[in-house]
């Protein structure tokens, strides 16, 4: 008979040690969270609970681990203040605490020399951690609609061995074009692709990599409730049926996950849990 495997995440009250709005609407929060940092791997994420003082019943929100300082137990998340949850989280001041559940999910494999990292918009968050996890020669394409939304501070990307290619759709910073267009130029000469961003970007990259038989890994997002694999709320369609983004992902081999998910037929009239 199988015995229980202890999970390696925990839910802890973690003090915020630093807050920075790196651009209008983009917030970088640092926590003292040694319970998370010791085990955290690039591509993993945390569920951030709402400030207790809000008194509101709201689900915790998933955010990628953007970087860790293991020695000092510091953990960084980086997010766009898009909705009510992000807004509430961005109001906390250093000194106060938030509950963090993590580290969660399966991260990226270790990048080899010649790896191509592709970030669309906030998809940069997990790729910063990934880029920092090695010093082999590697390239990061960081794409965004426009310069104002290129919120990740440039210093965060000044890493040994890392070539950074910036691209904006309107050409307001770096090259003009989409991350995908630029990436397609680099893919043929890359050893593997690691990507995070909008679904269309991931889908296009997956296709381009598959054509050339290059391994590709994508981090996907889905609405979550538990974040730990219990509720089956964060399903994504894969070759093996629905899998859980929070537990079986968020990083999947690009070829195994359905990235074009348009909704299909619906059976269940009454909703159904």
């Amino acid at each position: 008979m199988k015995t229980l495997i202890k999970q390696d995440y925990s839910l802890e009250n973690c003090p915020v040690t630093e807050k920075l709005f790196t651009a209008t609407g983009f917030c970088r929060l640092t926590f003292y969270a040694p319970s998370v940092t010791t085990e955290a791997q690039p591509g993993q994420f945390v569920m951030v609970h709402m400030p207790a003082s809000s008194g509101r019943y709201m689900l915790p929100r998933p955010y990628s681990i953007c970087s860790v300082d293991r020695e000092n137990g510091q953990l960084v998340i980086f997010f766009e203040v898009g909705g009510r949850g992000g807004e509430l989280i961005s109001t906390v001041e250093p000194g106060t605490t938030l509950r963090l559940l993590g580290p969660l999910g399966r991260g990226f494999p270790k990048p080899q020399a010649g790896s191509l990292l592709v970030a669309g918009g906030m998809g940069i968050a997990p790729l910063v951690f990934l880029a920092k996890s090695t010093t082999v020669p590697r390239t990061l394409i960081y794409g965004s609609r426009t310069a104002a939304r290129m919120a990740c501070p440039r210093e965060d990307l000044d890493l040994p061995g890392l070539t950074v290619v910036e691209v904006t759709e309107d050409g307001s910073r770096g090259e003009r074009g989409t991350a995908c267009e630029i990436a397609e130029r680099y893919i043929p000469s890359s050893s593997a692709v690691f990507a995070c961003g909008p679904r269309q970007l991931l889908a296009a990259l997956a296709e381009a990599a598959a054509e050339r038989d290059i391994a590709a890994w994508v981090s996907v997002e889905e609405r979550m409730a538990c974040g730990i694999g219990a509720c089956l709320g964060c399903a994504v369609r894969t070759d093996q049926g629905y899998m859980r983004v929070c537990k079986d992902g968020p990083v999947f081999p690009a070829g195994e996950v359905n990235l074009q998910d348009e909704h299909t037929e619906c059976l269940c009239q009454s909703g159904g849990n």
Binding site: M1, K2, T3, L4, K6, Q7, Y9, S10, L11, H49, R56, Y57, M58, L59, P60, L101, E222, R223, M224, A225, C226, I228, G229, A230, C231, L232, G233, C234, A235, V236, R237, G241, Y242, K247, D261, H263, T264, C266, L267, C268, Q269, S270, G271, G272, N273
Partner: protein
């Protein structure tokens, strides 16, 4: 004065505390193992299990609403055999009593799941989820009709000697008639409520947000609706009631008990705070001390008779 006891007997199942994990949000317990003090949980109701695996609904399956959670997981589950092989052994080790929530697309399926669980160690009861879409009736759920409910419950009753909980859907005219049908068919406990049917729309994409369009609403938003149904059903049936729907505090749980529930279950509240069972159990004991009550039976349904008339 003696120390208050939180023990209750729920239709033949002895519980150390009157707080259970509701079916679904908790999955099969494994993931919550490190987050929760299992001493504070009287029982765990496993997520709905069907005879064959069910794939569930297309994503997105989760949306947040004002004080509520809308889900359309679609009863995604690995099927009876895998449940018995993979999930049950782990569940059994957690400590609390295990109740298995069973689902089906027709009466026979329900009965077969019940039969398939006979003789399996470590199961204290079955909970029939009659909210499943009845494929014969155009997808309307069994639980909206007293006669269909009777059929499902009677069929499962014939297959099992375990205590039988019947979990009702709130999307009905008259919950009382469905509860009475379930009782007559052999239910030992009435569980209520399941989620309210609802939807939200993504105004940028101009289409329903959930992959399944419709979902089930849970969370504090629905608590007044749940509480009223517990009140009404507990007046109408002899068997105990397991109350749930939006419980996120001890005071919520106490409202259900005063309304007539023997025990309560916590569902989506666990996402918000895995310490809830411990806080609720602790809060109930504190309330009992304050109100000089040693057994929960003294509180059960007390609000029906205006409990404050005698005390100071």
């Amino acid at each position: 004065m003696s120390i208050p006891s939180a023990c209750v007997n729920l239709g033949g199942i002895e519980l150390d505390t009157p707080v259970l994990a509701a079916s679904g949000p908790f999955g099969h317990g494994r993931e919550f193992e490190v987050l929760l003090d299992f001493n504070s949980l009287g029982g765990i109701i496993a997520k709905g299990v069907s005879l064959e695996p069910w794939p569930g609904n297309p994503p997105p399956r989760i949306a947040e609403t004002a004080s509520g959670l809308l889900n359309a997981v679609g009863l995604h589950n690995p099927g009876l055999n895998k449940f018995i092989e993979d999930d049950l052994p782990l569940l059994r080790e957690l400590g609390p009593k295990i109740i298995v929530n069973i689902i089906g697309k027709n009466v026979k399926d329900y009965a077969s799941v019940a039969a398939g669980l006979n003789g399996i160690e470590g199961i204290s009861g079955l909970e029939i989820n009659v909210s499943c879409p009845n494929l014969k009736a155009g997808g309307l759920s069994f639980g909206t009709d007293p006669d269909l409910t009777y059929c499902v419950v009677a069929a499962v009753r014939r297959e099992t000697a375990l205590p039988l909980l019947v979990k009702l859907t709130p999307n009905v005219n008259d919950i009382v008639s469905v509860a009475i049908a379930a009782e007559e068919a052999g239910a030992d406990v009435i569980s209520l409520i399941n989620t309210l049917s609802g939807m939200i729309i993504d105004i940028e994409k101009k289409k329903p947000f959930l992959g399944n369009r419709f979902g089930g609403l849970s969370g504090p938003a629905i608590m007044p609706v749940a509480l009223k149904m517990v009140w009404q059903v507990s007046e109408a049936v002899q068997v105990p009631v397991l109350g749930m729907g939006g419980i996120t505090s001890a005071s919520d749980a106490i409202q259900f008990i005063l309304a007539g529930a023997r025990a309560v279950a916590v569902g989506s509240g666990l996402f918000y705070d895995p310490d809830l069972p411990a806080k609720i159990t602790g809060g109930i004991l504190a309330y009992m001390s304050k109100h000089k009550v040693t057994s929960l039976s003294e509180l059960e349904g007390l609000a029906h008779t205006g409990g404050d008339k005698v005390e100071v």
